[in-house]
């Protein structure tokens, strides 16, 4: 494509940077492996000039050039539109409606020529969300491409919170070449100023060597150096002919580049534009012109009188209504409408621009357009405003701006009520209730969901009502009230099926299927899979992903690895294919957790480290990943186990959800136990155990009950998981159950608590094989208490256990616990009643008990197994 000249300036002090760029280009050509190049620098440092100088000797058809623009709300995929305008073909077709995936793969198609392609994307600091996604999509595939990806951005504007920082952080792993374009040296400034009658020392001091500022000062032709770049630009403007100055003002109202057909409508004469180009204040770029720098455009725009500026914006808007391309660009229209203070036009174009942005996955831009529409749309009809607020609520929730989302939904609800649209109001309340649930405000969420149901139920069988039932099911599921969740899920599915509402049906099948599966019914599995299949058929990859993700994490939570692990893998593959980084990380963290529990510690460690390295690993994903990492470190005896466990606890506390708090509490209790002070985490375990108990969720209640038993000796309530078998005095049965589930670490720990020395030895071997040094140390100590003098094999008479009791004494105590008399015990064991009496008195002495009942109670609190 055509690239503008670099303004006829010689590039000073850039030879080494140019050589570096050409060297990288040669590497790509020779090795066939693509490179990512990041070009940063302050505004006016000459990033564009450098890249243009680099590409100018290369074959023009191997260069693709696109720029992000400084519209208040950037046009989604703006750089690709630039490229499509230049090359046409499949990329132009894809942009006309192939959706995000189609556009991304069409872009890959551009980068496969025999010669290396150079794809330049300029001014990434202004990029919209879809462009940033494209950049990370291409960046991750750099090595596979026969291309050089050159990205320029203002490094001083990209702070820690800037969305570009996130993307650049992610791309750090592909080893990008970083080029920082520095200011000129004093000698460089002096060289540029040669032939000008100007104090070069003063020029260097005022411009700090900024090349753009320097050339503006030199071109302004003043006797003195202007103090700011703005002064320099305006001095140049004042020296233009009146016709050229008028043209310059017109160009200033058009961000980025201004097409000639548009400028004609703004009254810019061809002669005037030529004058600007000759004077070097504008550069031609194909059939458009642009300022040499955005700084210059802003300086000029600032001095265009307000009334004239508004008039120019109005004319731009009129002309953009019938563009020669035939396709209206609503983002540009909305921009000019807002600047022309035309509220009606903003209200029309901004929501349309939001639709377009959303179709390309630019959620942040969609939100900004909706906000713009509402700011200017105070005179819009009530129902229109209500709908805009409602959409804004949804988009903000998708961006995880929860409290802002709540505000938008509340406003929408109020306006719908005012407009008398009860069904719409209730539907908004259902969505609001979902957001409140996510924000951890369960009580309010359920109340609102009640209100919505009260409104909707008398109004007939509607999709909104089905959604409300589904939302109620989701709340109960999140709170792990699984039976109730199933009841509401059934209602929602019946109604959605009756109405033929497939979207609602797919969503509710997934949500309620998970609840059913987690409460132990395999019918839930079939239901989730049906939901996923339906989502695929109606073209909703987001719901499909939700299905795999829920099946994977829900199945993992109840240790059904045969179902959970393949689902998580599917979720990861699907997320890579559909560019869903959040679900990708969530599923990776869960897969790491499953690997840990299945004894695949190396796999788990690798996956969890990779997950945590991503800057997008936040929220619930970070809780899961930190918990896994903390458990891995504490089980291996590696240093720093508490750093991730502290972070996980901090984040889990913010959610207040059992499903987040329980694994952290258990992990901390375990880590403390391995360090020899199990009681240290007791308050936390107690608190979360109470929550689990209230909700009656077995896996949480029993794992935490198990740790209470470990740290205090308090016998846990009987239950259904191996944790309670272990805590209730049947470690052997627990070990078998763990083996069936496929959890070797828990299995070994249970085996180590049995009274059979061979079993304990087996447990020790298993722990050593896992690399579980701290637990192995505890088991070795226990083996020693059995006594080295004790021969192995059937003669276990004098072996000791942690209570200091012999095996025979333990047998006696087991029968005492059953309420047997000494005579009955003697019969059962084939020994004299009198001998039984001796054993019983030894037991009482060793335990410090005054009665048989007290002995049994003390044995239970000290974790002495009572088996017969």
């Amino acid at each position: 494509m055509t690239v503008g000249t670099s303004g006829g300036q010689t590039l000073l002090e850039r030879a080494s940077l140019l050589a570096l760029l050409h060297g990288l280009h040669e590497d790509v050509a020779k090795q066939g492996e693509g490179r990512l190049v990041l070009v940063g620098g302050e505004p006016g440092a000459g990033k564009t000039s450098l890249v243009r100088a680099f590409t100018s000797p290369l074959p023009p058809d191997t260069i693709l050039w696109g720029g992000c623009d400084s519209l208040r709300t950037a046009r989604p995929l703006g750089p690709l539109f630039d490229i499509a305008a230049a090359v046409g073909g499949p990329i132009a077709d894809a942009l006309a409606g192939a959706g995000r995936e189609g556009v991304f793969s069409a872009t890959l198609g551009l980068l496969g020529g025999p010669l290396p392609t150079v794809l330049v994307i300029e001014d990434l600091h202004w990029a919209d969300e879809a462009t940033l996604d494209l950049v990370s999509f291409l960046g991750r595939r750099t090595a596979e491409l026969h291309a050089m990806l050159v990205l320029t951005y203002r490094s001083d504007e990209v702070g820690a919170d800037h969305p570009l920082t996130l993307v650049l952080g992610e791309l750090a792993t592909v080893g990008p070449a970083r080029i920082d374009v520095p200011p000129l040296s004093a000698a460089g400034v002096a060289a540029l100023a040669e032939g000008h009658d100007i104090d070069t020392g003063e020029l260097y001091r005022l411009t700090d060597g900024n090349p753009f500022f320097v050339t503006e000062c030199l071109s302004a032709g003043l006797d003195q150096v202007p103090v700011t770049v703005r002064d320099a630009v305006l001095a140049r403007r004042s020296r233009l002919e009146p016709g050229a100055r008028m043209a310059l003002d017109a160009v200033a109202v058009v961000p980025s580049r201004a097409e000639l057909w548009l400028l004609e409508a703004l009254g810019a004469s061809p002669a005037g534009l030529d004058g600007c180009v000759e004077a070097g204040v504008l550069v031609p770029v194909g059939a458009s012109v642009s300022f040499r720098h955005e700084l210059a455009r802003l300086a000029v725009l600032d001095v265009v009188p307000p009334a004239r500026r508004r008039e120019l914006h109005r004319r731009a808007m009129d002309r953009l209504m019938t563009p020669p391309t035939g396709v209206r660009d609503h983002a540009r229209l909305a921009h000019h409408a807002a600047a022309a203070a035309d509220a009606r036009a903003v209200a029309i174009h901004a929501p349309l621009a939001a639709d377009e942005a959303l179709a390309l996955g630019a959620r942040r831009e969609a939100t900004a357009h909706l906000e713009l529409a509402l700011r200017h749309g105070t005179a819009l009809p009530l129902p229109v405003r209500a709908k805009l607020w409602d959409r804004l609520g949804t988009e903000r929730a998708n961006l995880a701006q929860l409290s802002e989302s709540v505000e938008a939904f509340e406003e929408a609800g109020r306006l719908f009520a005012e407009a008398g649209d009860e069904v719409a109001r209730a539907a908004t309340l259902v969505r609001l209730s979902g957001v409140l649930g996510t924000a951890g405000r369960q009580v309010e969420a359920v109340e609102l969901s009640d209100t919505a149901l009260e409104i909707l139920e008398p109004l007939g069988r509607t999709s909104e009502l089905a959604d409300a039932y589904g939302q109620r099911c989701a709340h109960l599921m999140l709170a792990r009230q699984l039976d109730d969740a199933e009841r509401w899920g059934q209602r929602a599915m019946a109604l959605a099926a009756e109405l033929g509402d497939e979207l609602t049906l797919a969503r509710v099948r997934v949500q309620s299927g998970v609840a059913k599966f987690m409460s132990g019914e395999d019918a839930g599995l079939t239901r989730i899979r049906e939901g996923i299949a339906l989502a695929e058929r109606i073209g909703r990859p987001d719901l499909e992903s939700l299905g795999w993700r829920q099946l994977g994490s829900g199945g993992g939570e109840i240790r059904r690895y045969a179902e959970a692990v393949p689902a998580l893998r599917r979720c990861i593959e699907h997320a890579i294919r559909h560019e869903m980084p959040t679900n990708l990380l969530y599923a990776s963290a869960w897969l790491a957790r499953c690997h840990l529990e299945q004894g695949r510690w190396d796999d788990s460690s690798e996956l969890v480290s990779e997950t945590l390295r991503s800057p997008r690993c936040v929220g619930t994903t970070e809780i899961t990943a930190c918990t896994v990492l903390g458990r891995l470190r504490s089980r291996r005896g590696d240093p720093d186990a508490w750093t991730p466990l502290d972070r996980a606890l901090e984040l889990a506390r913010e959610t207040g959800h059992l499903q987040r708090l329980w694994p952290v509490a258990a992990a901390r209790a375990e880590a403390a136990w391995l360090e020899g002070s199990a009681e240290r985490e007791i308050d936390l375990v107690d608190e979360v155990h109470a929550l689990a108990d209230r909700l009656g969720y077995p896996w949480a209640r029993e794992e935490l009950g198990f740790w209470l038993w470990r740290s205090t000796g308090a016998a846990p309530a009987p239950g259904v998981t191996p944790f309670s078998l272990h805590g209730c005095g049947s470690p052997g049965a627990a070990a078998e159950a763990w083996e069936k589930l496929g959890c070797p670490y828990e299995e070994a720990l249970a085996r180590a608590d049995t009274r059979d020395v061979d079993e304990v030895r087996l447990a020790l071997a298993a722990l050593v094989a896992l690399g579980a040094e701290p637990a192995a140390r505890l088991v070795r100590a226990r083996l020693r208490t059995f006594g080295a003098t004790v021969p192995r094999g059937p003669n276990r008479a004098t072996r000791e256990n942690p209570g200091g009791l012999s095996d025979r004494e333990l047998d006696v105590l087991g029968l005492v616990a059953l309420g047997c008399t000494n005579a009955e015990i003697g019969d059962r064991l084939g020994i004299a009643t009198k001998t039984v009496g001796h054993h019983v008195s030894h037991v009482l002495t060793k335990l410090g008990a005054r009665s048989r009942a007290e002995a049994v109670a003390l044995a239970a609190t000290r974790g002495i197994p009572l088996e017969v």
Binding site: G175, D602, S605, E606, V608, S609, L629, L632, R633, R636, G637, D638, P639, D640, G771, E773
Partner: protein
Amino acid sequence: MPKYLIERELPGAGALGPGELAAIAAKSNEVLVGMGGRAQWVQSFVTDDRITCIYIADNPESIREHGRCGGFPVTAVHRVAEVIDPITADRQGALR
């Protein structure tokens, strides 16, 4: 980055010849290059049945990753809290 002391149980380590040790060191270097600076090798002490190493790394997982990729056993990883030597005794820093 923190410093770590790594214990590697390797029966017969003390009997390894110079060629074998060179091969082990080369393998280790190769793995470290692939890790892009997340782990750096300072030195190792070879004794009868064990090699004890000093590494600088971003976290214990990187130490284990290096062991896994190179096939070196990792028996235990300890974070080095402090390094002391005879000079530590003289807190004023003046040698006598």
